[in-house]
Symmetry: C3
Subunit: 255 residues, 3 copies
Amino acid sequence: MIVLFTDFGTHDPYVGQVKARLAVDAPGVPTIDLLHEVPDFNPHAGAHLLAALAHGFPPGTVFLAVVDPGVGTPRGTVVMQADGRWYVGPDNGLLSVVAARAQDTRLWRIVWRPEALSATFHGRDLFAPVAAALARGDFPQDWLDAVDALGVEFGPGDLSRIVYIDHYGNAWTGVRGEPSVACVRAAGREFTQADCFAAVEKSHGLWFVNSVGLVELAVNRGSAAATYGLRVGDRVEVERMSGVSPRPAAARENH
Amino acid sequence: MIVLFTDFGTHDPYVGQVKARLAVDAPGVPTIDLLHEVPDFNPHAGAHLLAALAHGFPPGTVFLAVVDPGVGTPRGTVVMQADGRWYVGPDNGLLSVVAARAQDTRLWRIVWRPEALSATFHGRDLFAPVAAALARGDFPQDWLDAVDALGVEFGPGDLSRIVYIDHYGNAWTGVRGEPSVACVRAAGREFTQADCFAAVEKSHGLWFVNSVGLVELAVNRGSAAATYGLRVGDRVEVERMSGVSPRPAAARENH
Amino acid sequence: MIVLFTDFGTHDPYVGQVKARLAVDAPGVPTIDLLHEVPDFNPHAGAHLLAALAHGFPPGTVFLAVVDPGVGTPRGTVVMQADGRWYVGPDNGLLSVVAARAQDTRLWRIVWRPEALSATFHGRDLFAPVAAALARGDFPQDWLDAVDALGVEFGPGDLSRIVYIDHYGNAWTGVRGEPSVACVRAAGREFTQADCFAAVEKSHGLWFVNSVGLVELAVNRGSAAATYGLRVGDRVEVERMSGVSPRPAAARENH
């Protein structure tokens, strides 16, 4: 299975070009659109989203992860194997939270360059053929050089910011729900904990641990983003229950 | 064939997680994204859209239908077989218009609960595995209890409201075009009947029976929603030709 | 491979209905969503986008190309084979730029009409079954009449207008980047040439030859559309290097 995780957007002719390449290079392999709306130009938010989402996928899954504002510059490009899953993308931090949290990580720099390489669309020209080879089970030895570390690393810690706002207006944070969170503040107010949307009154705010393990802010049958003016990048404050060790803070929280 | 009909949105990482589960549980079965923009939190509009859209699909199709603002509460979850097609979703009325109009309907309550069940994402954790089993042809007997009726029913009648606005700005109503409609009023004006967009002048309004049999309001090469300020939930008035029996009114029109 | 190129939008239940038909009529053939946001009602912009995008696809690809504001009127419907690829769509100019630039073009009028033909959704009812037959390798002889020319032709030349704005706010023009472009003006200002986004300062404008060969206007880590107020249809002025023959101007530039 190849899983696409990009900021290419769902409206534009970018994803289709990547999928056509994959259909030719890895025929019969299912391709899943996981997310094409990673906040634009924001590998930091993307890194935390990818780390949260990747857990649900089976071993052998190949993630084609592209949020790449530096495309065309000499930034590195990498293949990573982490806890049995494969990742292909730019070396700009996007894969680094997965790397830092994994039990077992192996890394390679992509040294291959295709004959036709657009300066602005490595997703189609460079990353897709590499992902296709991995998905077919053909490890492309000649295209790769083993390396010890990523060039850009955000570390294993949480990101105390909003990293995604969905179409309901729910705001995902980069903070994992475990160990137990006691109190969440954002936009100058404290949110109430609830297990599901309907546990609070209609139009009331809440926070909950979402389906991929992150603290999420919502409004029952409404939009938290619109109600509280929340935006990607906004800080959130999280207090954990006393006696529970907090996770280490993110090494680098600015983005 | 598995057909997805949800309010998960096309931008968010929800549909991809469902499709990854289906790819694992029902490999090789085509999965079709029919609609992920059912009006949010609105099973009533969704029920009428689903009833209109489902007709075009072949026998054996499995609809995974999720518009589920009550997820995580004790609302029921159901499997339905209606006129040879399967439906899996919450028991909140979403499947009830299909049920009430079908010649032949069988119903089961889903009693199975997966080991890992998110409080907010039953589409992925509960409904997708059930839909996958049906699509593989493995009726999951042990997961289901036969029941006689749905818990929430909207009845077989039409819904005299706007139930969907498409990206052109065309407004779908919940009113079927047969028996012959004579006159359609919405937003304080009467619309002209036409067979296709180009049958009226550019920027003029019209109504027509759309490609799934519903009365739809449009503007030739323009947006009916923007021109007339139409929104989902707005009432429409429909007069039928004298001598033609009207359909029964919807049992419950508020939403 | 069947490639969808339409103005059906990614949010609406149109694409899913087309794909369900294709899944039934051409089982096992990969279907790629290339673009469903061709500017609404604008076959002229669409014709230039299609010509630029089609190059990257392998021989035998079947393009289902539908931007069809005249659906339901007696406008023609065609099958085209151009340089080894197939195209199915309305005869309203949408296929004509591909036709005019191809080395080798063959054309047929679609004379077949399905039993159930919606007045407003020929994409599903007429074009999809024809595309499916071609993709299966069953040339539908009885459904087609060979013709010598399209009814509506835009010619082989470039279109000196903005033809698409992507979700980053980058503006695609209908002007090909070769032979060498020296200078690009739009919205009353001259743009700087650069090879990639990061070659200019953050928030600065640039133009570049994009991944499908068209001149594109962008802002590094920002939106060119928002920064300069660019819209589809806006004129752009392009000067080519002296000594390089310009391409012939488009036969018909208004739309």
